[in-house]
């Protein structure tokens, strides 16, 4: 049964050194505040899973939290490289980084298989693609009915899933809408979970009948962090900060500039610093 607590307590009680952790959110609702808390608590030797590592994994990799990365697209969308990821892969700074690389289709299917309790995901993929030559976790399987050769990858079943959602209610149920990515699958596939939310309401009230809702008995820790997805966004609350995504390129390009930024904006700050990015749904619409 989910429990509402502070973000610091949620991370301390849920994530251990060496865990396999998936912080998900496909462009929308990326759990930045939770990632920063993991950095502040100096978690180490994590295997991080994420389809699009985005700036949050650039930050966690640059701060030395990560031993291995499982991913499918490691760039700054529309801008260019993730420089801390590249520095780790190309120069082993601040430590060497093991990578396991897939396609989006493979990872989306693997999350779904994890949520469905299956050992592997099967799909039509990787035809003629070199990833199948360098990743031993990509195999072929023959359909027993048609004989078609299909791709198989292991299911994703992380120790911990971390997501940012729009709302929780007092009973600890969680609601998200908009671009919902693979967050439902990630939480259902994981052994434990942390959900940060924009707001906690008494009751969800009238809502879309098909809104994505994670019942309280499927969720672990819940922490309210207003603005906790910035510089990504929360539909109806605040927009994606595209200017920051562009600015990150220069910040992350250089090790010293990166460390200075992380010290001032992460190490010396707390989750409450995100509130400045949050606006009420009504103000955001104006």
């Amino acid at each position: 049964m989910s429990q509402i607590m502070s973000l610091a307590d949620a991370v301390a009680s849920t994530i251990r050194d060496g865990d396999t952790v998936a912080l998900e959110g496909f462009t929308h609702l990326i759990p930045y505040a939770a990632g920063h808390e993991i950095i502040r608590q100096q978690k180490r030797d994590l295997t991080l899973i994420r389809m699009t590592p985005d700036l949050i994994y650039d930050q966690m990799i640059g701060m030395g939290c990560v031993k291995k990365l499982i991913f499918s697209w490691g760039g700054n969308p529309g801008v260019g490289s993730l420089h801390r990821l590249r520095d780790a892969v190309e120069n082993a700074w601040p430590r060497s980084l093991e990578i396991e690389e897939h396609s989006h289709a493979a990872m989306a299917n693997a999350y779904e298989a994890g949520a469905a309790g299956l050992p592997c995901a099967i799909f039509r993929g990787y035809l003629g693609a070199d990833l199948a030559k360098v990743n031993p976790n990509i195999k072929r399987i023959t359909c027993p009915f048609t004989g078609e050769e299909l791709a198989a990858v292991p299911a994703i079943s992380p120790d911990v899933a971390v997501i940012h959602a729009l709302k929780a209610d007092r009973a600890g149920n969680v609601l998200l809408e908009g671009i919902v990515g693979v967050q439902k699958e990630a939480v259902l596939a994981a052994k434990r979970s942390i959900v940060t939310v924009e707001e906690i309401v008494e009751d969800f009230g009238p809502r879309n009948y098909n809104a994505v809702i994670l019942p309280n008995w499927t969720v672990g820790a819940i922490a309210q962090v207003q603005g906790g997805a910035h510089p990504s966004y929360a539909q109806g609350y605040y927009k994606r900060d595209n200017a920051f995504y562009k600015a990150w390129d220069a910040i992350a390009r250089d090790r010293d500039t990166f460390m200075t930024w992380m010290k001032a904006n992460v190490l010396e700050k707390g989750p409450e610093a995100f509130a400045v990015h949050a606006r009420t749904p009504r103000a955001a619409a104006e």
């Binding site: 396609s103 289709a105 993929g125």
Partner: protein
């Protein structure tokens, strides 16, 4: 009288013209996104644009910086989860055209967006494949948009991120792939289409003012030209106006803090 325009504008306009009003198009970020939305705002108002974040039938007023900006969801007919997008819509064979870009391409239109140098010890680590490996084989056909240079148009790829025509005319068929693969490559200099037999990308149309020598100088293999090579019509006033307004709106939106 024709207006003056930049090679990048010619490229985007030529790419947009390749799309049809009835297409269902899986849109890559960057140059493909500009071309697809230009098509929607000019000759193909009913085109269905799909972004891998799950947005179907989206009509953004400004170009998204990422494949999942809120603008895409707010203007979409509907938004589905990412597993559903890749399983039901892409793998399910419901997409007529996939529009891709890349860091490197070879003469069979195989694409590399993964590494320069060896995979285990890369000289340059690129972002990787994302949706491209399955877009390349699941969409009915593939259009590619890329500015031409010797660095990006190479004789041999360090890594095949997504399949074009392999290394021979029947490579796709041998792998059991039933879709057409790259049928058009639009650059800032010209338009390539695959040779019907060998599938080698062949120049079929040259943009105004561009020479065959220029195309060769910016290509890392000996370029084949079709028996008849057309001149690409220059961008017209409407195409240029709509494209420039779209970029102006986009630049303004992306420079504002959220």
């Amino acid at each position: 009288m024709t207006q003056s325009y930049k090679p990048a504008e010619m490229m985007t306009v030529a790419a947009a013209r390749a799309l049809r009003n009835e297409d269902v198009c899986f849109v890559g970020i960057g140059a493909p996104s500009a071309a697809c939305n230009l098509a929607r705002l000019t000759h193909a108002p009913d085109i269905t644009l799909i972004y891998e974040s799950g947005t179907i039938g989206t009509k953004p007023n400004v170009l998204p910086l990422s494949i999942g900006d809120g603008e895409l969801c707010e203007t979409a007919l509907t938004t589905v989860s990412v597993p559903e997008m890749f399983r039901y819509w892409l793998q399910g064979g419901r997409i007529t055209v996939g529009f891709l870009g890349g860091a490197q391409i070879d003469k069979y239109a195989n694409l590399n967006t993964t590494v320069v140098g060896p995979y285990d010890k890369p000289k340059v680590r690129l972002p990787g494949g994302g949706g491209a490996p399955e877009i390349a084989t699941s969409c009915g056909e593939i259009f590619i948009i890329m500015a031409q240079s010797k660095r990006s148009f190479v004789d041999k790829l360090d890594f095949v991120t997504s399949l074009g025509h392999g290394l021979e005319g029947d490579a796709r068929a041998k792998l059991g792939v039933k879709t057409k693969g790259p049928t058009r490559l639009i650059t800032d200099l010209c338009i390539f289409e695959p040779d019907p037999q060998t599938k080698e990308m062949t120049v079929v149309s040259i943009h105004p003012g561009v020479t065959r020598e220029q195309i060769q100088e910016n290509t890392g293999w000996p370029v084949k030209f079709a028996a008849t090579v057309a001149e690409t019509p220059a961008p017209n006033a409407q195409e240029l106006a709509v494209l420039r307004e779209l970029h102006a709106r986009t630049n303004k939106a992306h420079s504002e803090a959220a």
